[in-house]
């Protein structure tokens, strides 16, 4: 592909890893600015802190507040440097496996304290 529309091709698309497993949605795209002031694609941002501000008004603020309380990552959204993106079509495909990325805290917490404790969770 020789060009991309950031809002159409990237924002709100599903991100999958090299095995096709879901990583998250593109909740926001970070643009870097180089020394000449020209912007470029720096990273994909995943998580409620990235996504909340894109919903305008009270609903967005409610979501971002909820996310903070529900143990989502205090260190900010998951940041995937753009050079890890291998291909963009119906989903954004990464060149790496999901395990190499930071796991969302909510997922770890629920696995440890709830789902993981139910017999049969490893089937």
């Amino acid at each position: 592909m020789n060009e991309l529309y950031v809002s159409f091709h990237l924002l709100d698309r599903q991100i999958v890893d090299r095995d096709g497993l879901e990583v998250g949605k593109v909740d926001e795209v970070e643009l870097g600015i180089d020394d000449r002031g020209a912007p470029y694609l720096a990273a994909l941002l995943v998580g409620p802190q990235a996504f909340g501000p894109r919903i305008s008004g009270w609903l967005g603020r409610l979501l971002t507040g909820l996310a903070r309380r529900l143990r989502t990552d205090r260190s900010g959204p998951l940041r995937i440097p753009y050079d890890l993106v291998r291909q963009v079509d119906s989903a954004v495909e990464l060149s790496v496996r999901r395990d190499l990325l930071r796991e969302p805290e909510l997922e770890s917490w629920l696995r440890e304290h709830l789902i993981g404790r139910i017999p049969g969770s490893a089937e």
């Binding site: 529309y5 795209v29 600015i33 470029y40 694609l41 501000p53 305008s56 050079d83």
Partner: protein, 96 residues
Amino acid sequence: MSDLVTADLIGKVAYHRSGEYLGRVADVVVAPDPEGTWRVTHLVVSHPPWGRLLGYERDEETGPWLLVMLARRMLRRNTRRVRWREVRIGEDDRHA
């Protein structure tokens, strides 16, 4: 942290550097440079604001006939691509 996110561009008011009012930014076009970095080349501006484009601004969206006609009519009249260097982003904000 982050220098800029798309919410700092999309939805913002845009002016041509000559002063002409262009509308609001609907999308950001990027293309790869020789080293593989994807650089912003153009902005898609829309006036009056069109909102979600659903994908009809691309040639790959081919139907159904009714929706294509409606979408292309509105798009041709309202949206255009402008080179990044020629755009100035305004201070005015769509309601946050």
